[in-house]
């Protein structure tokens, strides 16, 4: 077995040098890590699992990568090797990303971006790598389906000073402030995405389409009491029928409040507060404004 | 103080808080 191991590692190296990532991974996965014949320590086992997963991820093969990362998950908690543990985290985040579990991926990326050490084992952590992880966190959060947890992560990222230096910051700001994103902005954002983040979904929308249209729909619901599907289609840059279809699904899934008048082809956004509560809020806002003026006057000694 | 005057001017226009028919019914 020792000789087989050496041969497999050598071959894997060759494959790697020729960027044959999957073949290299398959070559290494042939090593029997659970053999009873030889004593194999957990660190070696862990390093092999992580290495194989990384190779599969080079070819965006989330399924195979996940199998080895799952194996590694039993070993990672008791390793002392920080570098290995970091590689494991990065692999896990990327697998979630590839599997379009964007919100979970975002949380992992964000966690990685907060590493404060500059040297882990032999590996030097450079600022650019952390920035990449942070940008990946922002991208995945924007692509995730709207909901309370996504809003919380958006708020965390928006208030994180490091994000203001990212190229993607303007989009993050608009998404956080629930502002409508225009087509040029969406196209610029799309250029930064990886292929799997632009993949076509069964309903012929891409991941990006759906995220952006749903975001814009929610933003429109903050601006309009009601709007015709024709105008909504223009606003969203899609056909009115498509707009109606997405709106109806969001309302059914209780991710947006509203009702659709198909005869008039109009959607009524219902504010989640009844009229009287809206009145209360307005009066509350008025009192606050009055207080601010009084504070301002006091400050100026008037 | 111009700034305060502008704020007061804005404040005074916040009433009535809501003018929609639906609200009038509710309020009555």
């Amino acid at each position: 077995e020792e000789q087989v191991l050496i041969i497999r590692e050598k071959l894997a190296e060759l494959y790697e040098s020729e960027h044959e990532w999957s073949k290299a991974a398959q070559m290494l996965s042939g090593i029997d890590l659970d053999s009873g014949m030889r004593v194999i320590d957990d660190t070696f086992r862990l390093s092999k699992c992580v290495q194989i997963a990384r190779l599969y991820l080079e070819d965006d093969d989330a399924v195979n990568a996940e199998a080895f990362i799952n194996k590694a998950s039993f070993l990672v908690s008791n390793t002392e090797q920080e570098a290995l543990s970091l590689q494991y985290k990065v692999c896990y985040a990327r697998i979630l990303d590839l599997k379009r579990k964007f919100l979970e991926a975002a949380l992992r990326y964000y966690d990685i971006s907060q590493i404060e050490k500059w040297q882990i084992g032999e590996e030097e952590i450079n600022e650019e790598a952390l920035e990449q992880a942070l940008a990946a966190a922002v991208t995945c959060t924007i692509l995730a389906a709207a909901g309370p947890q996504r809003s919380r992560v958006l708020a965390t990222l928006y208030k994180d000073e490091r994000c203001s230096k990212l190229k993607i910051y303007p989009i993050l700001q608009k998404v956080y402030l629930e502002r409508i994103l225009r087509k040029p902005e969406i196209d610029a954002f799309a250029e930064e995405l990886k292929p799997h983040q632009k993949a076509l979904l069964p309903d012929n929308f891409t991941v990006l389409d759906r995220a952006m249209i749903e975001h814009n729909l929610l933003s429109a619901s903050k601006l309009y009491t009601n709007i015709s599907f024709e105008e909504l289609g223009t606003l969203l840059g899609i056909a009115p029928q498509k707009a109606e279809k997405i709106a109806s699904r969001m309302i059914c899934e209780d991710r947006m409040r509203g009702s659709i008048d198909q005869v008039e082809a109009v959607i009524h956004f219902e504010d989640d507060t009844v009229e009287m509560q809206q009145w209360d809020q307005q009066i509350f806002g008025l009192c606050q404004a009055l207080n601010e003026i009084l504070d301002g006057m006091a400050k100026k000694g008037l | 103080d111009n700034s305060l005057l502008r704020q007061v001017s804005s404040l005074l226009r916040r009433l009535p808080a809501i003018e929609s028919e639906k609200f009038q019914d509710n309020f009555l």
Partner: protein
């Protein structure tokens, strides 16, 4: 941060600039100030002596222009455009934003037709894009667009510089608020007293009832 806080530092900047410039040099400052994306008030700048000195000189049109931006609207500019400098696009945008604030002074529900006429806009999409991008997202107004009723319902509108003579109205409204609030408080006080007295009456009545029940019980026993 509301619009007043945002523009305070810009006002300071332009006031300082105006204090250091004279005569025709002020013209470029006027263009810069009236084009600035975060500045919607000009009274402080207008009260700089260097500006006031422009009165009656060949450069007075810049003083007139600044006053226009402080108090007037886009349609008023069109009426006297031949006597004023030509505006750059940013100035036109600014004047239209200020026009919305002026309209919001008189009504909380602004019909699309009125807005389109005032702002020289030909279709609903263009009007709504302007209200969304250049008004609501800038923070000078907050409200809801209603396509069925074709109107913009204003919840909040930033204050513009007061026009000469507007102070009286302001004070009058405040006085009305004050008296209405005092009346309201008095009536609330009365209602509280009334509720207390009713409460007392009910308690007394209840007590009497209980005593009567007791009496009847005793009699029966």
């Amino acid at each position: 941060m509301d619009i007043e806080q945002k523009q305070a530092e810009h006002i300071d900047y332009f006031v300082k600039q105006a204090s250091a410039l004279k005569g025709s040099a002020l013209s470029s400052l006027v263009v810069e100030a009236t084009s600035h994306p975060s500045l919607f008030a000009f009274s402080e700048i207008l009260s700089v002596p260097n500006f006031l000195e422009l009165e009656g000189t060949e450069h007075s049109i810049f003083l007139d222009l600044l006053r226009l931006f402080a108090h007037e609207t886009w349609s008023e500019y069109k009426h006297i455009a031949n006597r004023l400098p030509k505006l750059v696009p940013d100035q036109v945008l600014k004047l239209k934003q200020l026009s919305v604030l002026t309209l919001a002074e008189t009504s909380k529900v602004l019909p699309y037709d009125t807005l389109m006429q005032e702002l020289d806009v030909t279709n609903v999409r263009e009007l709504e894009d302007f209200l969304i991008n250049d008004c609501m997202y800038v923070g000078i107004v907050r409200g809801k667009l209603d396509q069925l009723r074709r109107c913009f319902e204003v919840q909040f509108a930033a204050g513009r510089d007061l026009r000469p003579g507007q102070m009286g109205g302001l004070i009058q409204t405040l006085a009305t608020w004050l008296s209405t609030s005092e009346d309201l408080l008095v009536s609330v006080q009365e209602k509280i007293k009334w509720a207390d007295s009713m409460n007392e009456i009910v308690k007394k009545h209840k007590k009497e009832n209980e005593e009567r029940v007791e009496d009847v019980k005793k009699t029966l026993s």
